[in-house]
């Protein structure tokens, strides 16, 4: 028995139009839920509708599921979305992605960045940044450029908290981006230097020299494949960090843009994978998506639990042998500090280096006394202050050495 014969042409003609419209609407809903649904998939789905699979939801659902899902996260979401759309169950779930976040969360990232001291007009995440600074320096020509340079110098020693002027803030952002670029450039040079292999690839040498009758004239070398450094950033977006969050968000954007391989996560009471959202070129859209993901930012921190989530669900995919994990947090943990120590140990076993950047370290008289911080310190390779750009710049040689 074949199940793809056009069994009931009359039925189909009647039901066809309505079903098709619903299917297209369904595909759109999936797309807005970040499913990768292309034209080809929709076409195939139309073919499925024409079969008797479409007769019952119990057979249509697994069929469309296999077709439309592309990854494990899709797989888990699909049933709910399908039921909502085709069976009319739990309709309010449908609005989950399009409208939630802002209303339910205590504080969103967008609000956070707007609340940052004196920052009224945050430049879009993806917009070219230096324009503000450049235009202010323009009138005096060459001297202006010098002034610009010296002001950058000056900035490097200011605590982020004291930067009130939006222009200055924009410059801080630019610096963060430049820094990320510099780190990467350093790494790329190292790779190129290793390109020349010491060993001869016999098979390819013979292959290449067949034209010469098998006399090896051109030699082919073999070199270990360079593995670029991967940077995984875990940013604490809790209330105690709110003064710094917007700046580090900007820094992460620069990192994602310029590192060959990088991933970013945001955590407060739970962990969110923000790489896809942050890769958005348009700053406004990136912020929009980020604020949806980071619902609840600005509240307490549960570093231990967040790390546990990371270790359990993301570490395997995200971390390889040349991965540096950068945790940016003040270490004030409202969760169980025992969990944090345990998870840090698990993480340390997995990755190459752990860098912990702590904005509080820049404060005079600060001792890492927060309970969580103490539990974690044993497994941290580098514990550094991160309240100024200077301290970020200091990381560059360290990262390049990995």
């Amino acid at each position: 028995m074949t199940c793809c014969g056009a069994g009931h042409p009359e039925d189909l003609k009647e039901a066809g139009g309505a079903m098709l419209a619903r299917l297209i609407a369904f595909a759109n809903i999936l797309r807005s839920n970040a499913f990768a649904v292309g034209l080809k998939e929709t076409q195939d789905a139309v073919r499925l509708l024409a079969t008797d699979l479409a007769a019952r939801p119990s057979s249509l659902r697994p069929a469309l599921k296999a077709l439309f899902c592309a990854r494990a996260s899709d797989w888990r979401k699909f049933d709910e979305i399908f039921d909502a759309h085709w069976l009319g169950q739990g309709m309010k779930q449908l609005a989950r992605v399009s409208a939630s976040g802002a209303t339910t969360s205590p504080k969103t990232i967008r609000e956070l960045s707007q609340n940052a001291p004196g920052q009224h007009s945050e430049p879009g995440l993806g917009e070219p940044v230096p324009s503000d600074g450049a235009s202010s320096a323009l009138p005096s020509g060459d001297i202006g450029r010098m002034e610009g340079a010296s002001r950058v110098e000056n900035l490097q020693h200011t605590d982020f908290r004291k930067i009130a002027d939006p222009e200055e803030l924009a410059k801080a952002h630019a610096l963060a981006e430049r820094l990320a670029k510099a780190m990467r450039a350093r790494l790329t040079r190292r790779e190129r230097a290793r390109r020349k292999g010491r060993k001869i690839d016999l098979r390819r040498t013979i292959r290449r020299n067949i034209a010469h009758g098998g006399v090896p004239i051109e030699l082919v070398h073999r070199a270990p494949k360079p593995k670029p450094l991967r940077l995984v950033v875990l940013l604490d977006a809790s209330g105690s960090m709110s003064l710094y969050t917007s700046v580090f968000v900007r820094f992460i954007h620069g990192v994602l843009d310029h590192f060959h391989e990088a991933e970013a996560f945001l955590f407060h009471t739970h962990l969110a994978h923000v790489t896809p959202a942050m890769r958005e070129r348009s700053g406004a859209r990136a912020l929009e998506r980020l604020s949806l993901l980071a619902a609840g930012a600005g509240g307490g921190t549960r570093i231990g639990e967040s790390l546990a989530t990371f270790n359990r669900w993301h570490a395997k995919r995200v971390i390889h042998s040349r991965t540096c994990v950068m945790i940016i947090s003040d270490g004030y943990d409202t969760g169980d500090s025992g969990v944090l120590g345990q998870e840090m140990r698990a993480l340390a076993r997995r990755c190459r280096r752990i860098v912990w950047l702590n904005p509080m370290l820049g404060w005079e008289g600060y001792e890492p006394s927060a309970r969580g911080m103490k539990a974690a310190l044993d497994y941290v390779d580098l514990f550094a202050p991160a309240h100024t750009l200077d301290s970020l710049a200091k990381l560059e040689p360290y990262l390049a050495r990995l």
């Binding site: 998939e41 296999a66 592309a70």
Partner: protein, 295 residues
Amino acid sequence: MTMIMTRDEIAKRLSEVGYVPDRELAMALSLMDMLGRPLLLEGEAGVGKTEVAKALAAIHGSRLIRLQCYEGLDQSTALYEWNYQRQLLAIRAKESLGGGAGVEEDAVFSEKYLLERPLLSAIRQKQAPVLLIDEVDRADEEFEAFLLELLSDFQVTIPELGTIRAVSIPRVVLTSNGTRELSDALRRRCLYHYVDFPDVDREARIILARVPGISTELALQIARMVEKIRKEELRKVPGVAETLDWTASLVGLGVKNLRDDPETVHDTLMCLLKTAEDRARVTKEVSTRLLGKVA
């Protein structure tokens, strides 16, 4: 051969060859034929992703061609390669026979000197085989792009020989362990199924299908015990393969009922727990407590 099996038929045939599918997997396999798309299987290690391909080959009575991916895998190991040694020998032989420089290139670059690798061999079978591309996430991104091209056209161009079109379109199964994020393009091209750990009922049926001569009672006990162990906070959650190992060892040791022999049960847990940390976590007390709930 061209007839498309429905979901229920496939489910029935799969259980006949010893693979116990869930409904969604049977559907995905049926759609593979209907839409002519490859199937991407993801899931934890040891949940039986590779087994799916083997069972699929068995029910269609076709060959299983397997390409194991690894870092650095390239076209010459995956697609085709010239047999250089033979080519060189042929050239030398002709030269010594006094042919001089007049060795014909066509003679050297012919079928005779072509080494088929899994991908090429898969598209040249008379009867459509099952092509298993195992752990595709281990291969490099460039290889993934190449694979994408092959999966959409099912033809291969060998510069010296010309284009080889597929004689039959193979059923393609890709598996991934999630060590690297696959490209969206590849994901979109494929049907998707997430292979989860089986529930107690299905796992018991798998045990019954795979371990001959085991009682239903014991199979159920083992399945329930494994389910409980999976719920413990483990670093490496045991898969179906481990369950089968454990079952085999229990049967081998003559255990008829888990309740009778908690000692042996605890001592054989090494079949399920593969790290020192997990082993330390499931102490005698824990295993006895779990056993109390199960048997």
